[in-house]
């Protein structure tokens, strides 16, 4: 069952070097409860596409057909994505306040979210700058999950974190998906993260989708030369491929 359908989306930006086709005729479908990866290097248009799907940006042409109104987002830089002047309690309850949820219900849900992301109750009165990057990202995850969304766009949610913390956050996201059946659009430039999280993916470059398909299949049988070069720039191969290193 398709939950998000993109039909021939186009978006141009007017930059210093002229017109940039950030999203150039992109069509794709995301199925309910799957984790769909959007992979590509910087400037390929994946973040722009994510913002169009979220409704934050309007496309020049084409449609986004959504099977749900309950969408949320988790951004890369938790420093930027949490209002520095709001305390954690306010940050978490914002979505519910906008929806008009009652005070008691809000309190219950905020505490449940804190529990889910494994942060202590004392965190509620603190401000974002008092937390580490990994903890802030957990708050962002908590905020996203609080409003019972059906679809979450994760835009490079772990890119700026240390590798040990990355694993914690990714495991948390996986657990959430299992529990609540949420659909993910997972945007990343990091192939390892996509492999860990997603079952299907699309490879983007210069605003276009080069290939789509199941992650396992594409990783072992890339058809596009660009995909092949992306896969071969994966450094950890050296740890695995060197026969003498049995990891």
């Amino acid at each position: 069952m398709v939950i998000v359908k993109c039909d021939r989306l186009k978006k141009r930006f007017f930059g210093r070097a002229g017109i940039v086709k950030a999203v150039d005729d992109v069509s794709l479908e995301i199925e309910r409860a799957e984790a769909f990866g959007l992979v590509g290097e910087s400037g390929c248009g994946k973040t722009t596409l994510g913002k169009i799907i979220l409704g934050v940006l309007k496309p020049d042409s084409g449609n986004v057909i959504l099977g749900t109104k309950k969408m949320q987002v988790i951004f890369q830089s938790s420093y930027n994505s949490l209002d520095p002047k709001m305390n954690i309690s306010d940050i978490l309850s914002e979505g519910l306040i906008i929806k008009g949820t009652g005070q008691g219900e809000i309190k219950r849900k905020v505490e449940a979210a804190l529990d889910l992301v494994k942060l202590p109750k004392e965190a509620l009165k603190k401000y974002p700058h008092q937390f580490s990057g990994g903890e802030r990202q957990r708050i962002a995850v908590g905020r996203a999950v609080l409003t019972d969304p059906e679809f979450i766009v994760c835009d490079e949610p772990v890119s700026s974190l240390d590798v040990t913390i990355q694993l914690q956050i990714l495991n948390l996201l996986k657990e959430i998906q299992k529990r609540f059946g949420i659909t993910y659009l997972f945007i990343s430039h990091d192939l390892r993260v996509i492999k860990f999280m997603c079952n299907r993916l699309a490879v983007m470059r210069y605003g276009k989708v080069l290939e789509t398909g199941p992650v396992d299949y594409i990783y072992s049988n890339p058809s596009h030369p660009y995909t092949r070069s992306l896969l071969s720039s994966h450094f950890y191969d050296i740890i695995k491929n060197d026969a003498s290193l049995k990891l």
């Binding site: 979220l54 949320q72 951004f75 994505s81 002047k85 914002e94």
Partner: protein, 264 residues
């Protein structure tokens, strides 16, 4: 230094609020026996040509001067934030129109504008506040607009939008609280300026009208008797000096806190 300045400001504020308690005498009580007496035990800062106690008049004058300063700048801040936020958030033609309006207002030489308005509408505390406020909001509007322009691109604004927040929510809840830093600095410095303007107007006779005391009109009284009764000029003058200086120091200190620079 900033601590000293803040303490001074606090002192003046308390004195002004508690004027009836702080003043030693009734500021309008005339005493023909002690006309133009120098500072003494009875009258700490001396008396004026109507025998009124200068200290008490200064304390009550603080009330007026500070009141005008705060309200005028308060107005300027509200107008400035509103216009700056609208221009910065919506951009496009709204931005252009509002900013050209700001430019126009900046072209007017404020002193002359104030003089013109006062002479047309008559000098009253209310008119003075309005006119000082109406000529001081432009800098704040520009500051707020600049802040809002960068802030609206931050991810937390996008996250709010995704959660369904309306424009008014984003502006009031996210943009303005984050933009307020430089505004606070500007406002603090502005209070000093407003007090100066009010004192100047009162000194010229078109500000606060006697018998209501204001530091400016006490100075005006002292003009003719400068050689004989120096205390009529020196003391109010010193109060104006130190108060404005304190607000300036405080404002600079706030700026240093907001934009910390490495000392070494």
């Amino acid at each position: 230094m900033a601590v000293a300045a803040s303490l001074f400001i606090l002192l003046i504020l308390i004195a002004a609020i508690l004027a009836p308690v702080a003043a030693t005498c009734d500021p309008s009580a005339t005493d023909s026996r002690s006309v133009l007496t120098p500072p003494s035990k009875e009258h700490i800062l001396g008396t004026d040509r109507l025998g009124r106690d200068i200290f008490s008049r200064t304390v009550y004058g603080a009330r007026i001067s500070l009141f005008i300063g705060f309200i005028a700048i308060g107005m300027a801040v509200l107008i400035g934030i509103f216009i700056g936020a609208m221009a910065g958030y919506y951009g496009g033609s709204i931005d252009t129109i509002l900013m050209r309006f700001v430019d126009t207002m900046l072209c007017f030489p404020t002193i002359f504008l104030i003089l013109a308005v006062i002479s047309l509408l008559g000098p009253s505390i209310f008119n003075i506040m309005i006119v000082i406020g109406a000529t001081n909001w432009m800098g704040i509007a520009r500051l707020v607009r600049a802040q809002v322009l960068t802030l609206k691109e931050r991810d937390f604004v996008a996250a709010s939008k995704v959660m369904g927040a309306k424009d008014s929510w984003i502006i009031l809840r996210h943009l303005i609280p984050n933009a307020i830093g430089p505004v606070l600095v500007s406002a603090t410095l502005g209070i000093g300026g407003a007090i100066l303007v009010e004192s100047a107007l009162s000194f010229l006779g078109i500000g606060v009208q006697p018998p209501t005391p204001s530091w400016g009109n006490i100075l005006m009284d002292g003009r003719s008797t400068l050689g004989v009764a120096w205390w009529l000029t020196v003391f109010p003058g010193l109060f104006i000096l130190f108060t404005v200086l304190s607000y300036n120091i405080l404002g600079e200190a706030l700026r240093d806190i907001a934009e910390p620079r490495l000392k070494r």
